[in-house]
């Protein structure tokens, strides 16, 4: 059940410098852009920051620009609809355009931003409902008990918390080896996707390296995979709204029928987007075919440690990996 939101002070800065000044003045300031994740937290009264900073009016954070290396710069507050409908994204990085299209529902994509989609919090129902679990600062996990409902939870990388990454675009951006541009008090740094998303073993209370005071300015997708063969598939209970039970993003180059280079990432099976390095090294230099598919199935989910109700994710993952490779044939 939702409730009336708590009282908060709302700032709507028009420039990045103003936003940073506000963040410097208020330690517990909460950044909101599309609000699709934030307002849920507020309405459930689980998070109640006293200061909210709406960064949607800052022009520097919005839009899609072409870069010299054939890649793209995507502003953090660019909506998912804009990402999906952008011709530059569709022609160079169809995997990202498709991932953006598979997020939630049209109304959410019209308002939800790509920056928010990658930095949203996990959707573990116990955590979202305000249970005092590890992630919420407590000392137990409610999703990993003999009777817990955990069909949506992790297969890999469990460290006390079994929550998974909910984002579709994070999977695509990880496969494209995107760089995340983070600014803090005027200092800008670029973080690789592999480092941007963090698991519970690094910090159990957050999903990304973003700390209070950090602003995700934009995402730079390098030209490396522009125009390559790409694939995205998401499996969810419903086509609309639902978060992935498993999803896969792939970018690959094919040379004379053989896979010369490949990047494959699976989502919703770990706290961070999971790069399938075993599959990558297996298929490099190989030709897609039945024989290769048999081998892919053996390695795709190797090392998985299913919980009580999420064994089904293992064959799901294997089949998604096979289908991605099959698209190259």
């Amino acid at each position: 059940m939702t409730d009336v939101m708590h009282n908060f002070e709302l700032f709507q800065p028009a420039t990045l410098a103003d936003a940073q000044a506000i963040l410097g003045d208020h330690e517990d300031a909460w950044i909101i852009a599309g609000g699709m994740d934030s307002l849920d937290w507020f309405k459930h009264r689980v998070k109640q920051p006293s200061v909210v900073v709406d960064i949607a009016n800052i022009p520097d954070l919005h839009g899609i620009r072409e870069e010299d290396d054939g890649g793209l710069w995507i502003g953090a507050t660019t909506t998912l609809t804009e990402v999906n409908e952008s011709e530059a994204v569709q022609s160079r990085f169809p995997v990202l355009a498709q991932a953006a299209l598979r997020v939630a529902s049209p109304q959410i994509r019209n308002k939800g931003t790509i920056g928010g989609n990658v930095s949203q919090d996990t959707r573990c129902t116990y955590y979202r409902d305000g249970f005092p679990c590890y992630r919420a600062g407590g000392n137990t996990c409610y999703a990993n008990t003999p009777t817990a409902m955990n069909r949506e939870h992790a297969l890999f990388g469990v460290s006390r918390c079994v929550a998974v990454t909910p984002s579709d675009t994070a999977i695509a951006l990880s496969a494209l080896e995107a760089m995340f541009i983070v600014e803090r008090h005027g200092n800008r740094r670029e973080v690789a996707a592999a480092d941007f998303f963090i698991g519970p073993d690094i910090d159990i209370t957050r999903m990304t390296i973003l700390e209070p005071g950090d602003i995700l300015v934009g995402i730079r997708v390098p030209g490396k995979w522009a125009g390559s063969r790409q694939y995205f598939e998401k499996v969810a209970d419903r086509n609309t709204w639902d978060f992935a039970l498993a999803n896969i993003a792939m970018a690959a180059t094919v040379d004379a029928g053989a896979i010369s280079d490949i990047s494959m990432v699976c989502g919703a099976v770990q706290c961070t987007p999971r790069r399938l390095t075993d599959v990558e090294s297996l298929v490099r230099g190989e030709t897609p075919g039945e024989e290769l598919e048999t081998l892919i199935k053996r390695v795709a989910a190797r090392g998985a440690e299913p919980l009580n109700f999420n064994h089904f994710k293992v064959p799901l993952m294997e089949n998604l990996a096979v289908r991605a490779i099959r698209s190259l044939a």
């Binding site: 002070e9 529902s105 086509n239």
Partner: protein
């Protein structure tokens, strides 16, 4: 002052121009008269006259605490809704759905789940559909907002989408209908000749618990032929 007798199950109480005579008692009119005021008009009147009713007192209770709390300051903003710009006091934590329903009296926009999972609150902001329950009103100060009230023609004629929904029996309980209408109109404004797959995708953000999805979809395709 009229007096009303006890409820009589044999009498047809549906309001109509000519009251029917009862069996064997010529000339006697029905003994009970329904109030000629719909719930909608009652609510609208109450909201506009500024009287605090139970529901909105609850909704705004969080926004009107002790004066010392600077976080609850309501600011006067100018909102453009259905082509009309109106000044309205808005709290920082107020959603657009709340403002539309309880401050402006535009109760056509429904609040279903209140968390962006059903689509009953769908409105058009600058040409795209959004969930008004999950949008802070301060965010859309500079936007052109269209609600279901702004979709009907000025002469009171139904929009082709509304007419087609009636013909295809889209609404059953009707609660999702305003959102479905808004989503369909936004689609046809953008793309007057959608394929059935495009229509299905555009309507996919609106739940219908009666399950009349195919009816609505047929309505969209029918309306597309007429706009």
């Amino acid at each position: 002052m009229e007096t009303y007798g006890p409820y009589d199950p044999t009498v047809d109480y549906v309001p109509g121009p000519a009251p029917r005579p009862k069996h064997g008692r010529d000339g006697e009119t029905r003994s009970w008269r329904p109030l000629h005021m719909s719930r909608r008009n009652f609510l609208r009147g109450v909201v506009c006259s500024g009287v605090v009713i139970g529901g909105s007192a609850y909704l705004f209770s969080a926004t009107t605490p002790a004066r010392a709390d600077t976080r609850a300051v309501e600011r006067l903003v100018r909102l453009t809704v259905n082509g009309r710009t109106r000044s309205v006091e808005v709290a920082p934590n107020e959603t657009l759905a709340t403002t539309l329903r309880y401050r402006l009296g535009l109760t056509g926009t429904k609040i279903g789940c209140n968390q962006g999972e059903c689509g009953a609150c769908t409105v058009i902001a600058d040409g795209t559909t959004i969930y008004s329950c999950s949008t802070l009103t301060h965010r859309v100060r500079d936007s052109e907002i269209t609600t279901v009230e702004g979709i009907v023609g000025e002469d009171g004629r139904l929009h082709p989408v509304q007419q087609a929904f009636i013909e295809e029996i889209g609404p059953q309980c009707g609660f999702c209908t305003p959102g479905q209408v808004v989503s369909a109109v936004a689609l046809l404004n953008r793309n007057p000749n959608p394929t059935i797959e495009e229509a299905r995708l555009a309507m996919s953000g609106n739940l219908c618990r009666c399950g009349a999805y195919d009816h609505y979809l047929r309505g969209v395709m029918k309306a597309a032929e007429r706009v």
